[in-house]
């Protein structure tokens, strides 16, 4: 147990972070190269002003027509994205580990609230899954890659919940939890989760085109 635990929290963790950052850098660089060779005009019309305007517009809940059209999805989307960052970073057990491994300390989410928020994330994953199956429009454009992305995010929260509650074998669950988190980080650049690094650029692209080329609002 100790050997496996030390391996997944030691060498494998460093390998994971390296793969994550290198993968993101590689994907960004190769996408830029592709845009430069295939879509030169898009780079020419990119504008800071309209990019930032569009990003600000779309990160505000209910500001856009798209967000207003489906309120339940809007609430679920914003809550989900805030929580999948806030919970892993500020969870008490993780704050303890930030201190143990890196010597940095900051305020933590108390255990019972962290437990509750984890259940919220799990419930939101179920909501997104049900939506993919139920809504004909979404079902039509859903591919295997979408399910993989959802499963990759679901796994660390589900195993974290089971490890915290000490349901099933704890020693196995904590290893699975760490591995699930590492799989997620490595997968971000190479799966649909890559929107984590690409979203600001796609939004900027749309914003710049609507603002600078079409001279229209980005709805």
């Amino acid at each position: 147990m100790n050997t496996i635990y030390e391996f997944v929290t030691g060498p494998l963790a460093w390998l994971t972070w390296t793969a994550f950052f290198a993968g993101c850098a590689w994907r960004l660089a190769s996408m830029y190269k592709l845009a430069k060779s295939k879509d030169t005009s898009s780079i020419a019309f990119m504008s800071w002003k309209y990019s930032l305007r569009s990003i600000a517009h779309w990160v505000t809940p209910f500001a856009t027509l798209g967000w207003r059209k489906n309120p339940a999805l809007t609430v679920a989307t914003f809550l989900f994205h805030v929580l999948i960052f806030a919970v892993p970073i500020f969870l008490t057990a993780h704050v303890m580990l930030w201190d143990q491994f890196f010597g940095i300390s900051f305020p933590a989410i108390p255990d019972p609230i962290g437990d509750y928020l984890t259940i919220v994330v799990i419930a939101l994953c179920v909501f997104f899954a049900v939506r993919r199956l139920q809504d004909p429009n979404v079902r039509y454009i859903t591919k295997k890659a979408d399910w993989i992305a959802l499963a990759i995010v679901f796994a660390p929260f589900m195993t974290g919940f089971l490890a915290f509650r000490q349901i099933l074998d704890y020693d196995t669950m904590i290893i699975l939890h760490i591995l699930a988190g590492e799989i997620m980080l490595v997968a971000i650049p190479w799966t649909r989760l890559s929107h984590m690094v690409f979203a600001v650029f796609t939004r900027s692209y749309m914003g710049s085109e609507f603002g600078g080329v079409r001279h229209a609002r980005d709805w």
């Binding site: 100790n2 057990a93 143990q100 490890a163 704890y170 020693d171 904590i174």
Partner: protein, 124 residues
């Protein structure tokens, strides 16, 4: 019921004898300084642990020190950990929970034995 009574009496005596506990009877790490615990107290049977781990020198855990610097030579046996390690530590000093985590986990890492992950000590 008559048969159970002597067993009950012994159980009650045993339970109360735990109140007047010394280190030999220590089974968990739950100093009063923590107040209400956020996790179940870490399991630690003092004598059994040290026998199993082959720890004979008290100073190995009961170290001294000042201003956030450990002195592995001066023994502080008998002084509660919380007397030096505050629950809310000042800058440059080690807090009580961190002191326990560092103490236990670093030794378990070095020896390759003993619990490392949260729930292995804080068993629900």
């Amino acid at each position: 019921m008559k048969r159970c009574l002597p067993i009950l009496i012994v159980a009650v005596i045993l339970a109360f004898s735990q109140l007047a506990s010394s280190q030999e009877d220590m089974t968990v790490i739950a100093p009063d300084a923590f107040g209400k615990l956020t996790r179940p107290a870490a399991t630690f049977v003092h004598d059994q642990h040290n026998e199993k781990a082959g720890v004979e020198d008290c100073v190995l855990c009961h170290h001294g020190g000042s201003d956030g610097v450990q002195d592995p030579e001066s023994s502080t046996e008998g002084i509660p950990c919380a007397d030096c390690h505050a629950v809310q530590p000042d800058k440059g000093t080690t807090g009580l929970s961190k002191a326990y985590h560092l103490q236990c986990i670093s030794c378990h890492e070095q020896s390759g034995k003993g619990p490392l992950a949260c729930g292995q000590c804080h068993v629900r």
